[in-house]
Symmetry: D2
């Protein structure tokens, strides 16, 4: 059931709002840095007059970011960045309790997904936020007249616009924020291809973001998703983690922390060495396939677990993904070599191969932490979203002064977020003495 309210929206069920509100407020209690920014935004209104389109996972944590941007004066449209990551009750509460336009329905098909992207475009944003760069991509395709490259929903909408209306879509963009590794990779590719016509802040690359959110957030929530989906004991299992970037490190750390025997696969020799020296087994996936009980992809790449690997897995092997897009596990190969026989538990699909072996896929190969659990805990999103809010303010202040390329998060934003997070955790730290500052800036003193 889709409901209509005062502000435009497309959500599952307005009646879910009370449950969503509880969830949002509970999360808010664990997001003190963002709350502090929201309080200042309410008074200073630094985003007044700003149209902002955000394409993010619609969760309780994102809701608190949305509330903060709204408090700063932004006119906000929020759409889903993934068909399977929306919390419908949160979406309902955002619309009904907080008056924010939301277009997001859990389990929406691709058509609906892109209809929602259109809603974000239609808003003609000054600032965009992405988690995976789908919104910015659509914007650029449309504005640069590459209408063959966009989804039909977007094309249909774009064709109704005049050429300069389409062009205006990017001309009026003051800046864009990108939340995840995959999105930053895409944006750097855009920069290389010369199509990036406005400044983008790589929020993902902030230390206060990727060192924490990607590692501790993805680490815990991925295992959480797996356990909720399967109720499997991790102790004693052979868990194959594909990719040993920040997310992969977090996933491996937590899998080991739960008693699993972790095997890492990598394509980068330095990361592979790190994994080995962290005491983990490192194997090519072809050799890991027959021994693994559980496989988790976190590479940011496509086609990681393929037909040749499924062919070697033992009966009952469990496969899931915690990378941004659902391209890491090649489900088509499974469908070709066998068939989907049952949904044996919520978020657990059984595929039976021609030789009788069964492979279980969690959350349809989408981000398992969002499909089968609640995504990253608020405490860690506090840091990522505080950075989002502050870099948005930074873009607005620097309007017209930032070059059209991928920028890093300003050091003072990182410093602010880290210091206030520490304070909220009741932790105080040392300060450099004047002598130490002098020592660190000099070079004359040696042995």
């Amino acid at each position: 059931m889709t409901v209509a309210t005062q502000q435009p929206c497309d959500i599952k069920d307005a009646q879910l709002a009370p449950s969503g509100k509880k969830r949002i407020l509970w999360a808010d209690g664990d997001m003190p840095v963002l709350a502090r920014i929201r309080q200042r935004f309410e008074q200073e209104k630094p985003l007044a007059g700003l149209r902002l389109s955000a394409c993010l996972h619609v969760t309780a944590e994102t809701a608190n970011l949305a509330r903060t941007l709204q408090a700063g004066g932004a006119d906000l449209v929020l759409v889903a960045s993934n068909p399977l990551s929306t919390q419908d009750d949160v979406a309902a509460s955002l619309v009904h309790d907080f008056g924010i336009s939301v277009f997001a329905i859990r389990g929406e098909d691709n058509d609906t997904y892109y209809k929602h992207i259109v809603a974000a475009l239609e808003h003609e944003p000054h600032v965009t936020m992405d988690d995976g760069a789908d919104l910015v991509s659509a914007l650029i395709f449309v504005a640069l007249e590459r209408l063959d490259d966009v989804h039909t929903q977007v094309r249909a909408w774009a064709q109704k616009k005049a050429r300069d209306e389409r062009r205006r879509l990017i001309d009026q963009v003051v800046g864009s924020m990108e939340e995840t590794t995959t999105g930053v990779n895409r944006l750097r590719a855009m920069e290389r291809d010369g199509v990036l016509k406005f400044p983008v802040i790589a929020v993902n690359d902030a230390q206060t973001k990727h060192l924490f959110d990607n590692r501790y957030g993805t680490g815990q929530s991925t295992l959480d998703g797996i356990i909720r989906a399967t109720n499997m004991l991790l102790a004693g299992r052979k868990v194959v983690v594909c990719g040993y970037g920040w997310c992969g490190k977090g996933v491996a750390l937590r899998a080991r922390g739960l008693g699993a025997q972790v095997i890492v696969t990598e394509v980068d020799p330095i990361r592979a060495l790190e994994a080995a020296m962290d005491g983990l087994a490192v194997l090519p996936l072809a050799k890991a396939a027959p021994v693994g009980d559980l496989f988790i992809t976190v590479t940011g790449n496509s086609g990681v677990i393929r037909r040749e690997h499924f062919a070697k897995m033992h009966d009952g092997a469990i496969v899931c993904n915690s990378g941004h897009f659902d391209v890491e596990v090649d489900l088509k190969a499974l469908e070709t070599d066998g068939e989907q026989t049952a949904n044996v538990r919520p978020n657990v699909d059984e595929y039976q191969l021609d030789d009788g072996r069964r492979i279980y896929v969690l959350g349809q190969g989408r981000l398992v932490n969002l499909a089968a659990a609640e995504g990253h805990p608020p405490s860690v999103m506090d840091m990522s979203f505080a950075t989002q809010a502050l870099t948005t303010e930074y873009c607005v202040k620097k309007k017209g002064k930032l070059e059209p390329r991928v920028h890093t998060v300003p050091a003072e934003v990182e410093e602010f977020v880290a210091r206030h997070k520490l304070t909220s955790m009741g932790i105080s730290i040392d300060k450099l003495t004047p002598e130490q500052k002098r020592y660190m800036s000099g070079w004359e003193q040696g042995t």
Copy 2:
């Protein structure tokens, strides 16, 4: 809604059966040792003619034990061992898909709980199974004419019986199995008090049980319950674990494995030393109270977290229990010094103290792994319940030959369970050579 079927039962909703069946069969896939025993039982029927009353957590894993006992020929009644641990869909499936009598409804009040105990008594069991010794206690109270000590439901039922009928309740008991530490403690106290009139097997004390179920099972599932209830990030939190027995060790290990800073409280100096040498902080609870973010009791004792501790906790502290009974956290103290203000999430109740501080209690102070998650994973219950099934068979075979006291699990049962579990995990191990056997049994050879 309570349904009626052919066999006597009291469950929530028969229509939940399909979901419960999925869950049972999924768990079965991870319980290979029990499945192997079930296959043999089907052929040999070692429990034929036996009435068996089991008072256990009614979960998917227990369902597979019930199926195994049934396969062995037992006439089985299953009742809940905790008001908040029943999986209603599993109960429904047991009744409707497997034809087993179940009396268990999640969230049942104490009256209903004891009505269900009465159903177990009414069955006049030859063998009983307990998880906490509630069924055996009731049996003994009734048979020994201590009707003042039993719940009114039990008393009312007992009073309808003749004295020798009551006495027969224990006279015909061949043996009893006890699953948990708390229950074994109670049974040893009964033995000391001279009221234990039939043999009891301390299944909990089997190495194949407590080294695994209590440690890895409770460890993972407790943290799982906490995360499902709160979605809190464990990394960086100060987690106070009260009790460093096998369960406490497991909980501390997993909390640390998820990045928490663990503080242990103990009353036993040897366990306290172990915790310290495991690199954990050890404090009296009075000193841990003001610093902890999350408190978990796993002591098997009562009144562990009390008024004086709540008085020192910081605003927002979270409290839960993973010990057998809901007596470890003194909720009455919270209610006296403040009031329950809200249910902020499923399984999260907020108590506001008079000074404004808020304390959050998970799962009403009952076993958080069963209240807020699915209890121990099947893989570990496989071992515990394989032991249950085999010791039941052992009791029957030894009928009349076991003294009326608490017995340990026979070594050959432990050996069987451990060996087949290893096999199911694809692990093979070394064998002693004849020379080594000789060396180990001799003493003559020295330096």
Copy 3:
């Protein structure tokens, strides 16, 4: 050089005394429980008039035990329990600074080793202490006229005695203390064989001993010995730990704590399961042999690493032992299939096999923590030796009242040691409330 002093002794070099004294006093600073006992012993002299022969590793920690026994009034002879574990400077200081009879020279041959055992026998002890049961074995062989079974040195000495003098050797023994798992195994075998004619206290089996000394002591010191011998980086190495008892658990824990990828071999299925659920690889040794970089035996058995395993190891594999006797690694097989080619570093011998592969053996296959490092740290020996001192006092007090069998350490000794160790670490713990004591001793209260 062997020196003569007032009291009988056989040590390496008296001039090493100053270095040994430093070492003894430094260790003493980390043995507060033993120091406390020593102070009381000095006043109460509970061992006055007692002849005591101790066959222990002659290290700084043992020196402080010897000082404590001496303070208690005992007339003490200390001999080595292992040819390669004596710290010659400590031996020298014990003789010259503390006036204690010591017979122990690092690297002594078997003849000298047993000459020293003779010195311990010659002392005609009322109480003995063993670390491996060599002294007790010799005593029993001699007293029971099994002179064919003893070393020639012992036989020669025994033959000079009259029969009843030999018999008196055991008749006057009040009690004996045994420090290590291997020794307790031998003593239980003696008990089964009916040759144990006096009471023995299994100090090793005390919780305050084996949970700490065997696990944390052996764990750290074994890795310490390996690193001192080889300077190898543990991170990223495949370390095969043979045996997952308390010592093996400690070694595996520390190897993993240093970044190694640990593989466990076992013969006991329950221990093998524990290792697997602790997240370690478990393999039969035949499969671990080709992949291991470092092999450590801690089984208490003989012939663990054999010809068939050496045959599969890769060139450069390193092998060592941390079990009590030097029988776990079959050096003869290495010598038969190849030859000892070089001592490449102190405590590292190279064996070249016929096919050119090189195997490195540390500390001649003797306890690597004592051969290549300093043995267990004083902090943990504090607990073991406090228990030794108190059980010695206990034996004396119970003179004539203890049956001639293997006894466990009294609970009050364990309690004393644990409580005072905690205090010395600045740790205080909770006490049971009266309500809790009542709850724990009752059984009536249930759900």
Copy 4:
């Protein structure tokens, strides 16, 4: 005793050469990447005609680097980079077995230290190597006529040179390699000050260096040094690690891996947050001082542990440093407030404060891993020194083309080192498929 040989040298004792040679060859067995480079260098002689002065820790690992540079054709002088880190037997072997000029004596005073620096300058190097930038600093001071800033030994030597001879010292430098964080910090300060007149490669900043050497190398060897010095049990100790950079992370990881309860102090909020989320306690040093049992500085800064901290430590606290320079622990404060009372063990000095408390300082506050143990294990130095060798070759090839500033290590060097290290460990990894390469370089494909 200082010996004279054909090539100029200043070493402790030529007769130590045999022991040193053993050590060098043993280390060589664990440095396969460097060995591979050495083989190529022997054939290609890429460093022919090059004078090279290296100021490094004179250890077995460095000896294998020196052999490699020599094999490449370099005319090499090696001097100590720290008064307490030289292995005298290695120095002797380098001179006598390998014909390399070495100026380094363990325990040399500052005058001798700088006489050795003069020997390195006198060599008029084309390429320099530093571990802490002492050689480059001296070079620049002299060449830029800042003779007031240099040690008297250097000044005396410089004053004998003509001005253009002094200037030539930097004019003929093709490039310089820097091995450690502290040195890179100094070089960046030089670059800021405009005094860096030749290109420097920050070898320390290579991923194949700092991710491994600083973390796993410093981690293990620091704890190794502490244990050798003290024989203390780490389990249960409160270990304060000052600094959570790569070295600090490694030290904290290993301390925890040995069972310690780790407390981190930091000045950087992001690193402090990382430590907290890694489950460690984070405190200002003033609060950590009274609780710590062992303090380890790894900050790269000066004056970290100061009078105010000593004032709060408990009796018996142990203090050491694993940062590059001996300025992190303020020994003068200890001497002012108390006195050095004894050397209680090798590398352990006791300081008694006026109030009677004793503080123990390890290795005189110099790098404890080199003062009390053997420094980083060869396996990890293999990577660092392979990078040194290859960047030296790179500098020579790029002669005249690199700007006079701090450069990073070329990616192909990192790739080579990582790939061959993996190979030597028997690890193979995955390769990107053509589809994956395409996916990673594109941006068009989204949801």
